[in-house]
Amino acid sequence: MESLESLYSYAWLIPLLPLIGAAIVGVGLISYSDATSKLRTPSSVFIVSLLGMAMMMSFGIFWSQWNGHEPYSFMFEWASAGSFKLQMGYTIDHLAALMLVIVTTVAFLVMVYTDGYMAHDPGYVRFYAYLSLFSFSMLGLVLSPNLLQVYVFWELVGMCSYLLIGFWYNRKPAADACQKAFVTNRVGDFGLLLGMLGIFWATGSFDFDIMGERLTHMVEIGSLPGAIAALFAILVFMGPMAKSAQFPLHVWLPDAMEGPTPISALIHAATMVAAGVFLIGRMYPVFEEIPVAMTTIAYVGAFTAMMGATIAMTQNDIKKGLAYSTMSQLGYMVMAMGVGAYSAGLFHLMTHAYFKAMLFLGSGSVIHGMEGVVGHNPTYAQDMRLMGGLRKYMPFTAITFLIGTLAISGIPPFAGFWSKDEILGSTFQVSPLLWAIGWVTAGITAFYMFRMYFSTFEGEFRGTNDDIKESLRIEQLQRMGASLGPGAMSTHEMPQATADDDHHDDDHHHASEPHESPITMTLPLVALAVPSMLIGLVGTPFGNYFEAFISPPGEVVTVAELAKEVDLHEFYVMAGSSVAISVVGITLAVLMYVTKTIDAGAIAAKIKPLYNFSLNKWYVDDIYEVVFVQGSRKIAKVALTMDIKLVDGLVNLTGFVTLITGEGLKYLETGRAQFYALIVFGAVLGLVLLSGLT
């Protein structure tokens, strides 16, 4: 075991390796910008192999934890003021080991994929540097031993997300999206910071267990009102709300799809957005004892799951559709945490990480193929109305996408089935209402995912249809026109903005048929298909190895005990009902998009208001635009005007009056210096006299 011991004491290398990679390439980019940008293969191989090493170490640690090694912690004094000390370090326990494996494997595969996807991009090296920086931040986050360190890395992953969403910085939508993402996350962090300060004020600690213990104790003995504790907990929950895109702070995630697709897979599907769920897991000792907080979490999650699914039904942009699907699935996880299904929530986090990363990478492969036909224009390349029949041209992408679709729809034995079913089963025991929301959402999920699969891969290829293109172009112009705020582009600039952007070299002529992506892209897809199919088997009710490994802090259970608890009859009822609703959703999708027995357009026309409600994302963005964006601009203008007119004016006036009086008095005196001295002397005398009298 000695080698394992040293593995633990060197575990800090896991986040540090990618940081070293990012730092070296980053320094190169700053000092020898052009030369470094040309070192494509060396840079990417360097960065990918560093992450590969981190992945190997993570496997080792996971293996050792799985075999029952004690949790390991290392702390050092990071900051101090007087006798006050703040500690940082790293903790490796079951949850951290699991997250390490998820993050490193997905990141590794995404990095391999990136080589193909970004092959023609001039920012190739910079992209790898950002990816590596993100991997560092995310790995640091999962190893954090206390809430403060979580907050540190929490913000860092947010910054990486900002940099990567805005990667194509000369695209206006990307510029807006990255700022929106950062600010929305800051709103969540505002709550997280306040909650953290509040809990620290009450308990004097940032350690998860100690915070939970002391807070519970205080509420019990009555030294802290329960309402205040609940307020702190809900404030902390605002952090996950923003990071995991829960209503009402979800608005940034769909827009974040402006970033390159590998990012959408890694950050905005598999890892960073799941950090919210991870934090709820870490904060379990605190949340668990506060029923109000748990209920809030559960309902926010359920509502988000439902909302995301209903919006995903009508989206035409393949990445937007997947983004709302991610939001909906994150809602499931959050709901699971809220109803106390700790292990189920994290199980879904794991399965979702794999199949959703695969789905996003698949969509990237589709976009890559489409770009060969319609050009590098997101309006065309990502719109499913121009796709269809791609299975013929891109077999690997199609099969892996289908596996992902089956997994997310909850069809046994694919991964998503086991985790979703466990969530629904546990939810039913706590609240049938929440279960009903989750159950209906499962049906909608199956429907929209198969809608997506069918319209992308089945039927006839529509990419060469100019009529559709023209109508998409007009739609795009209208949408941009509608969202034009003050200071935005004027209409004549739009064609330029929607036209091919120069980040890709665009000299190859457009083909009439899409082609399958290169092997660096299909290989990660195939690799991710394996866990998407099989990983669910570690958490079946017959032998729940997952729950035995990941159980709430303070609880220890074994596989045998868990198997005993399971009521197989109940399992068959629950699983049967959730498979049934998924099949209903799939059947509907088949009827609408394969056999065309049901005319989707006609239904949409019949329920126009509902359809528009979904298409326009429940109008949340429009409301926020008016209330927050324009509202804050107005307040800022008022503040500035007030500052220039009122405050400055008043202070100047006071000064002016003083000067005038001084000027008047000056003529009474013979010299300026004497006058000055006199005033000073008088004032001093006055002060001394005054103080002497009292």
């Binding site: 700053i30 003021a81 540190v152 600010v183 505002f190 400055d648 202070v651």
Partner: protein
């Protein structure tokens, strides 16, 4: 007085001034040899500063060190009295670093280079004089001495409305400094012995009304300089007109003189009054944060926006000072150091942008990222530091202030919650104005401005050197805050304890000054002795 050791601090203060004397004699009107000469002088001075503190300064002592004391003008009791302690030492180093880099940033100054660089050197001496003076009158003289170069630098090398801005600057600060003089003399004449020495002044037992009045005087003077709402309106004007290197020093060092003054005079010498004024400071602090952040967001002028951002960041210093504990004071000091570096790098980079675009109007800019990618990256790093991203110094400083204020036992829970929540709104507002600034300058497609289609606008090695020299300590402190905090930790601990004891004594006399609506739970008190926070 006998000279027991080499007068290091005197040498530090005098050297730049002496170095300025031969400048008129240098054989060069283009400014080439002058700028090299000045840079050499500044580097020598910076090395001298570092050498002195590395070899002769003991980090574990709370008291004054390296004391130089000579009679200067004995007729009026003026002593040349210098000494360093934890409050002044880090600021002296900051001043040395920022001024040296400002000289590098001034490389392209071709108009009247002799005067320009002499003024920078004069300003250097005056800054160090302010931070090191241990005599009230000397402090005041140095304080006034520093105004002259700033006035000239803005009014000669400034932008279009430079005269207005320079005049406004000199009027505001000069009127402010009258209050220093009045309050200082009042303190000097108080009681039996006439003295101007800081330590002796601090040792006097002032009556409470006297303390309150002099405190108010200092607060107004330093409030103009820091600046504190509503005396801040000179700053946006001064920054938008000043050349970038002057803005670097103005935001990086000169604003810190006010923060230093607040700690040195108001807190250290007038602690009884501070107990009464602290809540006022906290309230002014949040006004600074929220109000200036909003005003910054409303601004379309790049440097004005950053000027308001400085006002907002100084709000955290005020809140930290009001906390009555080591954490708060430590946070305030760290925020001063951190903001000195961050503001310097941001103002420098805005100067880099201005040299290319010849405009500060952000609505004319846009799409510059392609033309200056490395500058874009550095601007992003600076903005991230300014919005308190972890891993950079601003985060540690603001977090320490937040922790300090929220664990302070001087206020009711309600008041603390009120202040902390409003200050935290600044956490939301800072990315709003900083990231939208980045977006409007670098993102998207070019606006009105003609932007070259290659990277010829990108940052030059000299410019990159300045930015990196500032970003490295920003990140260094962010990763390992002790780099900065150890320079003042013993001093801030000692001072915070002293003020806290005075507050407790006052509470014991008059009962708690602030009603405790909801006291911190009992457990906390017992834990404070442990304070090992995991």
């Amino acid at each position: 007085m006998t000279v027991e050791h080499f007068p290091w601090l005197t040498a530090l203060v005098i050297f730049p001034l002496l170095a300025a004397i031969p400048i008129p004699l240098l054989p060069d009107s283009e400014g080439k040899s002058i700028r090299w000469y000045t840079l050499g002088a500044c580097l020598a001075e910076l090395s001298l500063i570092l050498y002195t503190f590395a070899n002769y300064y003991d980090l574990n002592q709370t008291g004054l060190q390296l004391v130089d004391n000579f009679a200067w003008v004995p007729q009026i009791g003026l002593n040349w009295s210098l000494a360093a302690d934890g409050l002044s030492m880090p600021l002296v180093i900051l001043s040395g670093l920022v001024t040296t880099l400002a000289v590098v940033a001034s490389w392209n100054v071709t108009m009247k280079p002799r005067l320009y660089f002499s003024m920078l050197l004069l300003m250097f001496s005056a800054q160090l004089g302010v931070f090191l003076a241990q005599d009230m009158l000397m402090f005041f003289i140095m304080w006034e001495l520093e105004l002259v170069p700033v006035y000239l630098l803005i009014s000669i090398w400034g932008g279009e409305k430079r005269l207005y801005a320079a005049t406004k600057f000199i009027l505001y600060t000069a009127i402010g400094s009258i209050f220093i003089l009045v309050a200082a003399l009042a303190m000097a004449f108080y009681g039996d012995n006439l003295t101007l020495n800081f330590s002796e002044l601090a040792a006097k037992e002032y009556s409470l009304p006297m303390q309150l009045i002099t405190y108010t005087g200092f607060l107004i003077a330093f409030g103009v300089k820091l600046p504190i709402f509503p005396f801040h309106t000179w700053l946006p004007d001064a920054h938008s007109e000043a050349p970038a290197p002057v803005s670097m020093i103005l935001a990086g060092v000169l604003l810190k003189m006010a923060g230093y003054g607040l700690i040195r005079m108001n807190i250290e010498m007038l602690p009884d009054a501070h107990v009464y004024f602290a809540p006022v400071l906290a309230i002014l602090g949040v006004i600074n944060i929220v109000y200036a952040s909003l005003a910054a967001f409303g601004q379309d002028n790049l440097k004005r926006r950053m000027a308001y951002s400085s006002v907002a960041h100084m709000g955290f210093v005020l809140i930290g000072l009001a906390a009555f504990n080591t954490l708060g004071l430590s946070g305030a000091l760290l925020q001063m150091i951190s903001h000195g570096l961050i503001a310097a790098v941001l103002f420098f980079l805005s100067g880099v942008a201005y040299e290319r675009t010849h405009t500060l109007a952000m609505d004319k800019m846009g799409g510059m990222g392609k033309a200056m990618p490395v500058a874009f990256g550095m601007f992003t790093a600076g903005s991230m530091a300014s919005l308190a991203l972890p891993g950079m110094s601003g985060f540690v400083a603001e977090l320490t202030v937040f922790l300090g204020f929220s664990t302070s036992d001087a206020y009711s829970t309600f008041f603390k919650a009120f202040i902390v929540i409003l200050a935290a709104i600044g956490v939301i507002l800072s990315p709003v104005y900083l990231l939208s600034m980045l977006r409007r300058i670098f993102f998207g497609t070019p606006g009105e401005l003609e932007i070259p289609n290659n990277t010829s606008w990108d940052i030059k090695p000299r410019e990159a050197f300045v930015a990196i020299s500032l970003l490295v300590p920003i990140i260094g402190i962010g990763l390992y805050p002790k780099l900065a905090t150890q320079t003042y930790d013993v001093k801030s601990t000692e001072l915070a304890n002293r003020v806290q004891n005075i507050r407790l004594a006052q509470d014991a006399d008059h009962g708690p000054f602030y009603a405790q609506v909801l006291t911190a739970p009992e457990l906390l008190a017992s834990r404070l002795s442990i304070t090992s926070i995991r």
